[in-house]
Symmetry: C2
Subunit: 339 residues, 2 copies
């Protein structure tokens, strides 16, 4: 009832008012001014639902966080949300945040979002091998961007990833300088992104005269002590640990300290990916800061281009930046891993 009000008040047609406010050129300067003043006067704000229905767009982007709603607290998603929103805000688009545990209900949510036209694009995170979400979105030809890494090498799906080789080089370089020669890359095997990070470390380590062993985590609480013990037994020559996702490095540091070992001296700990937990940890954890927020902002741009059928430019090369803190140092003369 709003364009109509302005139109009536001014004795003009709805059409003209719509065009004037829409910034079209085919409205005389004088009527445009009258219309703009009147719109200002009654504080006109267009009904978004009407506009969206007509335009066939949702003017919204969605993020479905995998896991329980509590996953919102994952510092990684916090960064994704912050980055995405900062860009969406500029475009005056809505940001839909949801969560869903992997499974049929997750897929149902995706269907409702896509087929109900509730969003124009989706940011997909924590991709798993053979992820049904990707299969669905590809089949539906719906704009989506994968955050992290894709299992397939399908060039048609846009995947935002950091330069893992460069990241591995930074980390390996630092550890090699400290005289380490055998390191452990620790992370879950369930997520494609994490698996690839471990692979990168294993590939790059030899270039620095080191070898990296692959250790799988489940993410259970209290797992780190067990892992540390196992490492001490099975790989007593490991003098440094790289946690490839949040909390792993901090978890090891805590486990070490619980046994009277000093992280950074007894065993170096570095985190691939940074968060507040690293800053607050004791000792603060040396970590590779990732440009997650920038990437999320970029993801929004890409989604809008996909929506509008525009080509997607070459992706920037996102690189990490090492935050040197206190959890790493020279390799101990002989391993102190006796947890």
């Amino acid at each position: 009832m709003s364009l109509k009000i302005i139109a009536n008040n001014l004795g003009l047609s709805i059409t003209t008012v719509s065009r004037a406010l829409g910034g079209h050129s085919d409205v005389s300067e004088s009527t445009r001014l009258r219309i703009e003043r009147e719109a200002q006067r009654i504080a006109y704000v267009p009904n978004e639902m009407a506009r969206r229905l007509q335009k066939g767009r949702a003017d919204a982007i969605g993020l479905v966080v995998p896991g329980s709603p509590l996953s919102f607290e994952d510092p990684y998603f916090v960064d994704v949300m912050a980055g995405a929103w900062s860009r969406l805000e500029n475009y005056d688009l809505d940001f839909l945040v949801m969560s869903a545990t992997p499974g049929p209900s997750e897929l149902r949510l995706y269907r409702r979002l896509v087929e109900g036209r509730r969003v124009d694009g989706l940011i997909v995170t924590r991709v798993r091998p053979d992820d049904p979400r990707l299969a669905y979105l590809a089949e539906a030809r719906f704009p989506h961007v994968v955050f992290g890494a894709t299992p397939s090498n399908d060039r048609s799906v846009v995947s935002l990833e950091i330069d893992r080789r460069q990241a591995a080089e930074i980390i390996c370089g630092r550890l090699a300088d400290f005289g380490h020669s055998r390191i452990a890359a620790v992370g879950p095997d369930g997520m494609t992104c994490m698996v690839k990070r471990k692979q990168a470390l294993k590939e790059i380590a030899p270039r620095f005269g080191m070898t990296a062993i692959d250790v799988a985590t489940t993410g259970e609480p209290g797992e780190f002590e067990r892992l540390a013990t196992r490492l001490a037994v099975e790989h007593p020559d490991v003098t440094a640990i790289v946690g490839v996702c949040d909390h792993i490095a901090a978890g090891f540091a805590t486990a070490f300290r619980a046994h009277g070992l000093n992280p950074g001296e007894a065993c170096s700990v570095i985190s691939f990916g940074d968060s507040l937990a690293n800053v607050f940890a004791d000792p603060p954890i040396t970590a590779l800061q990732l440009p997650t927020r920038d990437m999320a902002a970029h993801a929004v741009d890409i989604l809008l281009r996909l929506r509008d059928g525009l080509p997607v430019d070459e992706l920037p090369n996102w690189v990490g930046h090492l935050m040197v803190r206190a959890s790493d140092g020279p390799a101990p003369k002989q391993t102190a891993l006796r947890a």
Copy 2:
């Protein structure tokens, strides 16, 4: 183009299809079945924008986090988001998450949300004295729920708060049992909710034979050391500190440890409100866990009732639950606060 497709395929009218799918009673069982099967077959999902336009609803609830987008990482908002989403999911409503720094742009965002009909209701947090958002929402008669506390005693605005007296009793009771007699309530003065928490502590403390002094924080990093020093000088008889919002207690604990003092022995530290930071702190912080997620879920229910013009029931009495950890203990014989 979807109801129409079903209608055409079946040689029925759009009206009938709409009613059958809408679960109205005035459709014959046989046609309803045909329609449902066909809908199933073509995997019909209604266009939400069309439905929303027609119904004059947004089918969405919004949360505007005050501050920069990074405020998403505030554990308090994480809980609010988790609680709100868990309920919205059941109703199949959208959850819009945004952030805005207090000021004109914040109010502009609210106007666009409200007047653009982009949400049906808003959760308002971190209310400040004379908050322009509340004035606006009240004037616009737009469904909103205040989370935390309202400055005015206006009974017309729904405000979700915990039972602060009960909370203060739990905390004061524990500290009194430990033999403390003078405690500090520390928190920012900018937020109504925090001010009220401090007031509650000051009011309740005497009942337990204690006195509580009010200490204002600004929230700057590194502030805690200064505050601890000031406390030691100005109030050397204070033996316990209650942080009324996230990170304050943990911040003090860190500051104490940095000076070789042992939180829990030299000075007790308790947090009014719990988060992971307390769990991970060294030592883990004793904290009053608040039912924030429950409250947020309830907020959604209330917003929907307000939207639909239904009366809002009496609010539950939300109480806190003390998580006993290691940051508090017997009052020291003589104050050790010499930071």
